[in-house]
């Protein structure tokens, strides 16, 4: 395999309240021989909230982030579902709307940048599965996870909307041009099954197959593709608690020993709010919730410091 090299857009959470996400991501990449260049120039993606306040500003800032991957000539990867979606929604808009692209580039020109649309943007989960390959990951397993029932929690923004996912998170088809866009119109023009080939939002498989490649047992439960409620945690904590609590209890009731998610916002919400969600729903909730790269790092035999389980709020240090 030729060496894989990506520009990593860390997002804010990995630099602040979930340092374990960044350290485990870098550890996994090192173990697998994947080269990572950190996009230190990048700013916050707006997490859908900036988009609610000022859509144009969010397009400009996200386009700037992509510019830095383009300048390196590298595909961009993300380690947060919400960063992933907000970045590709910007890409989608600019690649499809020449007028908007010109308006955004007019602003970017003021700081000497230009958005071209030459870099792909995918979540690290799919880079691992589709570029590195599950079989190759399986060969690198040093600590099989065979004694764990692991509940995959996919997180909305990697799955939905499928007309965006299929275009950006799936590996690029041969002969297709990067930056051609097409996802926005795909909502109407592309057949259902084509949109669902890479990952179906109603029956997703990627995280399950990654768990199996690490020799863990993946837990089948209804809530795995549902919403955790993170984005209304401030204004509607009851909604957020009801959604995250229901998903956690569903996993527990299906004998999960731990939960794993590719999204740090899901992880924070599900890890940190177990006590308040449990209180609201009238049941005790205690389930370790790992970041996807933490789980992979665990199986690849990375160091304790790199995996960073001590940073998980619900006790996870016993997993080693």
């Amino acid at each position: 395999m030729s060496q894989l090299k990506y520009a990593l857009y860390t997002g804010c959470t990995a630099r602040e309240s979930t340092p374990e996400l960044l350290s485990s991501t870098l550890a996994v990449a090192k173990k697998l021989g994947i080269e990572i260049v950190l996009l230190d120039e990048a700013s916050c993606c707006g997490a859908s909230h900036l988009q609610d306040f000022d859509e144009f500003l969010s397009l400009v800032l996200n386009a700037r982030n992509i510019c830095y991957a383009e300048k390196l000539g590298l595909p961009m990867i993300t380690i947060c579902n919400t960063c992933q979606l907000n970045t590709v929604m910007t890409k989608e808009r600019l690649d499809n709307d020449p007028e908007m692209k010109a308006k955004v580039n007019e602003k970017l020109a003021e700081v000497g940048l230009e958005y071209k649309g030459t870099s792909t943007v995918r979540h690290f989960l799919y880079a691992l599965i589709d570029d590195y390959g599950l079989e190759n990951i399986r060969e690198k397993v040093e600590v099989p996870l065979s004694h764990f029932n692991i509940a995959p929690f996919y997180g909305c923004h990697n799955l939905r909307p499928s007309h965006i996912h299929y275009k950006h998170n799936a590996p690029l088809a041969p002969n297709s041009e990067i930056g051609e866009g097409g996802g926005e119109s795909a909502i109407q023009e592309v057949e259902l099954m084509e949109k669902y080939t890479h990952e179906s939002p109603y029956a997703p498989t990627s995280l399950d197959s990654l768990i199996e490649a690490l020799e863990g047992k993946s837990v089948d439960y209804e809530s795995k593709n549902k919403c955790c409620g993170f984005h209304v945690d401030l204004q509607a904590p009851e909604t957020s608690n009801a959604l995250s609590g229901t998903a956690l209890l569903d996993a527990i009731d299906n004998n999960a020993d731990l939960m794993v998610t590719p999204c740090p916002l899901c992880q924070l919400n599900m890890d940190l709010k177990q006590e308040s969600a449990g209180k609201q729903l009238g049941r005790d909730i205690e389930l370790p919730v790992l970041h996807m790269p933490q789980m992979v790092a665990l199986a690849l035999g990375c160091s304790k410091e790199e995996i960073g389980l001590k940073f998980n709020v619900t006790k996870a240090t016993d997993l080693i």
Binding site: H49, V60, C156, Q188
Partner: protein, 325 residues
């Protein structure tokens, strides 16, 4: 050759006579051109005449035959059955859009949907001259602005796919919001501000959307309700309807953080949005400090990471920001 044996597990319930719902299995050969509606018909015509579901136009326009198949919102008359067999395997589970609202089999009480839909004035409100001397001309752009939202057939697919509807009974929901958007951007309409105010309310309005995109995925007419929800959010600021509250400050607070650090200041955004309400987050803050995620002294010292070339970010915000709170 192109037929396949499929088992249908159908939700059965009669609110008048049954204590609990149950599932009944029907096995049938399904052809490649059959629709989910054909299978509903065949259960009724070939197996059990009491099986109940709504249907009318068979052309994807009346919105009556919405159900869920293996959890996927489905307009029965538009959805090819084999496609779903390919997706879910040869056992298809037919359920009403909302099990807790079931009246009989696939038929639900859609009262909450209609009530919420009506609450946003889903019609053009205008002083109309009864004797007009000319047509009301709309530009292509004006029409395109609401054309996709206008395709809504009120089938309820997005409404009952929305998780917030299930946990917050005040929430108006994606179909009502898409309708609110559609009529607010109609140049003939005069009730836009009122609709924006209605949909800006905390608890029932757009700020309670969890951004799960279930509605975009569920809609059989590609209305993409969440895209309209984002537009309603922006219009609140553009038209000066937004009030300062925890949700609007949260949205605007992102700019404040990004200007300072490039990154979002995760502690400041909670403090800034909540104001004094921040005390309710203390137990979580302690948990984060205990796990070493947050260092209490950093909060005072503001040891925030900063994006490289922060000047560029500041400049871009200065020259690109359009909205204010």
């Amino acid at each position: 050759m192109s037929k396949k044996t499929v088992t249908i597990k159908a939700f059965r319930f009669n609110a008048e006579t049954d204590y609990l719902p149950y599932y009944k299995k029907y096995e049938m050969e399904v052809g490649k051109d059959e629709l989910i509606l054909d299978l509903l018909n065949r259960i009724k015509w070939e197996h059990d005449g009491s099986f109940s579901y709504r249907r009318s136009c068979r052309h994807g326009i009346c919105g009556a035959c919405g159900i869920k198949v293996n959890g996927k919102a489905t307009l029965a008359c538009k959805q090819n059955a084999m496609e779903l067999v390919e997706l879910f395997g040869d056992e298809l589970v037919f359920e009403p859009q909302s099990k807790k609202r079931a009246v009989k089999d696939m038929i639900i009480d859609k009262g909450d949907f209609w009530e919420k839909h009506a609450a946003v004035k889903p019609f053009v409100e205008a002083e109309i001259d009864p004797h007009p001397t000319s047509e009301t001309i709309m530009s292509k752009e004006q029409v395109e602005n609401f054309l996709d939202a206008d395709y809504c057939i009120q089938c309820g697919a997005c409404h009952y796919a929305c998780p917030v509807i299930e946990v917050n009974e005040d929430y108006l929901g994606p179909a009502a919001f898409a309708a609110a958007y559609r009529f607010t951007v109609d140049p003939r309409d005069d009730a836009g501000k009122e609709r924006l105010k209605t949909t800006a309310e905390l608890g029932s309005g757009v700020w309670d959307c969890v951004k799960c995109f279930e509605c975009a995925e569920a809609c059989p007419k590609d209305v993409n309700p969440i895209e309209k929800i984002t537009k309603l959010h922006n219009m609140q600021f553009e038209q000066g309807v937004a009030k300062r509250n925890v949700a609007t400050k949260h949205a605007e607070g992102f700019v404040r953080s990004i200007k300072k650090f490039g990154y979002l200041d995760e502690q400041d955004i909670v403090l800034y949005s909540e104001g004094l309400g921040v005390v309710k987050h203390l137990s979580e803050a302690f948990k984060m400090i205990k796990a070493g995620k947050v260092h209490p002294f950093d909060i005072a010292k503001k040891k925030m990471p900063r994006s490289k070339n922060l000047d560029e970010i500041k400049k871009l915000i200065e020259i690109s920001q359009k909205n204010e709170l």
